[in-house]
Symmetry: D2
Subunit: 352 residues, 4 copies
């Protein structure tokens, strides 16, 4: 349930209402929008009559029941206003959100060594990326496959961050690792296979680094939003949703089926920013540019693209990685023209 | 197997080689490309040595085995050259193909009455559509649902064609109906549920109207191309492939999952033109514009969009139909900017 | 909507009520159950008040609305009573239904030559099968694959029928072929790829041979029942539903995923008899016996099992065919013990 | 790669060979089968010639390469011999394996209070169950749903164990909880949503309680076996595989699609014991008996069935829980007859 306050409602009145609601056993959350303040209510509201709340104050404009099973992540919970997630990086704050330019995250599947990660960071930064991705802990189907370099890779990510000024996004796979990863990462990634790892969702919700929540391979949109709800319910409002392809009956030519329709669907359902990962989504570098362009045209707020200095020799996911040269071209000509066409390119590029 | 002829190979030599191959029990097909002529070979070629063919003539440049199970529809069968499908309409010839402007097909799910179909035809033509879609025979899950007006609807389509000059695309559901539908339609649509109706594929391959082949709800890309192969093997080379959403585990917010990755995948595998139907693909009119824009950015050759003068009162598929006003806006501002950005808009629109 | 008559309701009264309802624009159908007569009502019943019908006669026990979208096939339409389908074969009438012994259908994927089909017919008859399956017209993914011997295969099926006394089940793929196939077949099979070929469903509903309706590869249970509804609505009540595996994300070890849960689900929803095809369902002969046993334990009314005298040389579907010897063993020891345990074996076998 | 020793090979020779192989950087594992000893080899064996190993000793019968990506769990790794998992419970040792009687696990979805869990334990024990299931930590889609009573529920499970003598199976969701759960549980359950939680798999592989590994909702059989491989590679050989229904396109009538074909498929691929969970598999108590019977007929080694004293008031999964009375009947008449028919019932029941 949400309480929409009238414009100009005094701060004191908002606090008074919130205090009163706490005595009813509810958890009010103040959301400051562009024009008005909303009080979001979570708790046992099913039996509560909106009229009873309305009577609490003449400054209350309306009381609306959130019909979705997801509350804090729902668009209704912000009375239709878009949200945004702001992340501080050495190069400055970067904002993810539908009223902001496209943010591009790039980098290798896994951190292999110092030279490759720093080289890649500098290359993708130059091409326009704002974040470096790179796995230290890797979820691998086989116990005999390369599992990531772990802690030592975290140090290399820190070095790449220092060298490039890019923000760092890397995956957390175990509740026991959150703290040490959070010392290096600017965004904690929760991977597809862990989307319903509820222990991890709860602990990640209880700390304050922003979170990139990938959609599970066979997760419905509702389950995905409920997973995000775990994080917001834990107290962490900074969640970005990342579509990375779902599992369907056909994996002959693509590794997964990239579900771009989540872009308009999520836009209606939630205020959280959206990211698309065409690298995992297709599993083949040849198909990445077309799907990246499509994602931007459909309105994504950000893209995650795998780039490796030498895809043929990558320790993991080589076939879906772009070379730095191909990534340059994607950014400079393909994405720039589409993002400009929809008004989401960082600046008007000259001479494109 | 294909035989690539050297540039300038004499016509007589090509005929001589073809005649020789016929005596071997093979079916040679001459394909005239931009720079060279290819002879496509279908038949029992598995045991045939390329060298034996090579010896037939010094004008033969190379002999290449087509590795795919689909032959005539494969890109290899044209030695990598794109194909195109040209369709004569009262307003002139329209070409579908990757080196041509985007072609938009629009219209209602089903033909309801004369006024609505003619009005819709005129409206979508004005907005830039080149073809009118409209069902006379409708595949419906329930025997008690509206089944289309059948033959009388064909007459109304003929009237709409005459009034607007648009080409007509309408669905064939039974081998017995092909002839009468072909008298009105410029393109015969073979629907998703009939994609593996092999009796229909064979008969449609044996007549000469161009065919729009929709992907089956759970058809792999390979099965889809094999279905197209039936039509080409029957003698009809004019096939357009239309993606309309596949069935996945989630249909809570969208009716199907529109698989836009088919665009780059098909581009590699086949020379046939590609169409995307975001109306069936999403099942909700709200999501159609974003997915139409995405499809154009990803490189589709054409779009099929449901438009109905009064979606709320449509006899079928109302929720996924755009109003004519919304369609106007989609064409004028949304699709125009994306299609211009990728160089696929019919003409440079002034003042967009 | 259904009208349940009181036991002993006079025939004349039932006719009077039916006549009256016809004047209301409805289509009453008399269903004679074990203890009472039901009048099924199809047509525009949505706005009809049960009370108004109740007033028609004191012999009416109750009037019940059928809540499912499928009417004639629903269990409610028979007021919970199971249906049965009786088929005359040269060896006598065979009844498919939950209160009858298990019926086994066996034979090759396709009819290859006279010797193989007659030999197979005699072998499977001896093992206890009541019907011979065998394709004359084959739905094949590739136009270059063996398409079945067509009409000449129909003659061979007729010969096998004469030689063995078994009933014949064979597939119809085109409305144009129904008549000639119906001259030979005792049951017309409508294959998975044609489950929503509505033209074929309508024409098959308009003739009187019993129908085996296979579930489409990605058809929901509701769509499957609606397809059956087309046939019953056309006037043909003799439909058997056959599950043959659905398409899922995993086809590495099995060709399809055999969905045995349809057995208890269909039992609740419909009065139509159920058949399970573990051969297509798994695609591997090794897995057929276990799944056949499971199907019987779960309550199937019949089984369809592919048997070929020489699976390694079969023109189609060899890997999923049992040898006659393996089929003998399956019938004699594996199926017999399970079917006896659940009270569905034809007779108490001696010495098993 | 595996080394099959000749019958009667001296213990000392086996050790000598193993020591030698360790010097090659490999990890030999001795597997004592019914008739012979096998040495399983894990490590960099790809470049190793079987001949080189063969030369190590005349007592070596043959050296076979394991072709599957999964090694220790593969059937080949035991040279085709079935494995078994023996678990000590207060009532004695229980063996899971294809050469042993059916083992039934029963109990509520979650532990609600002392009375209900003890009552249920005593009831299901009396009916023939050997293990009590019951969740202390529950994976729930919504953060606002009942999450299990956690540690206090573990104490209640201990009390139920003491009262009934049944073994306890309960779920672990976080690496941090393993130790305390292992103090109470006889088997640690790894749930479907955590099947690819690799951090958890590794830590569960490093401790010695037996593990019940549920198949992920959209996990392929190969991924499932690779997840089990993580546990065996960690040093814990006692893994039972549990199918609990997969996610498909149809969830209208069943919650998941129970994939019973895994029974014959796993039998070929692995030596690990198999469990089927028809409660989650169907999601509706009405369908549980038919699918449980089917699973036994297909050859499952064990069943997991949800039983709740009052399903209508269950805090979770009520609709799929049987009442104790229905469970009694299932065990006494339905499962007994099928399990006896296939020779898997604990003892010959008198008078069934």
């Amino acid at each position: 349930m949400i309480i929409v306050m009238q414009p100009g409602a005094p701060e004191l009145e908002i606090e008074r209402i919130s205090d009163e609601l706490r005595t009813w056993g509810l958890h009010p959350e103040k959301i400051v929008g562009q024009y008005k303040v909303i009080i979001g209510l979570v708790g046992e509201t099913a039996g509560l009559l909106p009229e009873r709340i309305q009577e609490l104050s003449p400054w209350i404009d309306e009381v609306v029941r959130v019909e979705q099973p997801f509350k804090r992540v729902s668009r209704e919970f912000r009375h239709g206003q878009p949200g945004e997630v702001t992340i501080d990086t050495p190069n400055g704050a970067v904002v993810f959100g539908e009223q902001h330019p496209l943010v591009v995250v790039a980098g290798p599947c896994s951190v292999e060594n110092e030279q490759m990660i720093i080289e890649t960071a500098l290359r993708v930064k130059q091409a326009g990326a704002k974040f470096l991705r790179g796995g230290a802990y890797k979820p691998r189907t086989s116990p005999y496959a390369f599992q990531g370099h772990g802690e030592s890779a975290l140090e290399l990510l820190a070095a790449a961050r220092a060298a490039s000024g890019l923000g760092i996004i890397t995956e957390v796979m175990d509740t026991a690792d959150i703290e040490k990863i959070a010392q290096v990462a600017d965004v904690l990634q929760l991977g597809a296979r862990n989307m319903q790892n509820f222990a991890l969702l709860k602990k990640i919700g209880a700390q304050n680094k922003p979170v990139l929540l990938k959609r599970g391979m066979a997760a419905t949109i509702e389950e995905w939003l409920m997973a995000a709800e775990y994080i917001l319910a834990g107290g962490n409002p900074n969640v970005i949703l990342c579509e990375r392809g779902i599992r369907t009956f056909d994996s002959r030519y693509t590794r997964n089926t990239l579900d771009l329709s989540v872009i308009p669907v999520l836009r209606k359902l939630t205020h959280l920013p959206i990211m698309i990962d065409p690298s995992h989504g297709t599993g083949k570098s040849d198909y990445v540019p077309a799907m990246a362009m499509a994602a931007v045209a459909a309105g994504t707020d950000s893209l995650m693209i795998e780039v490796h200095p030498n895809p043929a020799k990558a320790l993991s996911d080589g076939p879906q990685s772009l070379t730095p040269e191909r990534f340059d071209r994607l950014m400079r000509s393909e994405l720039a023209v589409i993002a400009q066409a929809v008004g989401r390119w960082p600046q008007v590029a000259v001479g494109v």
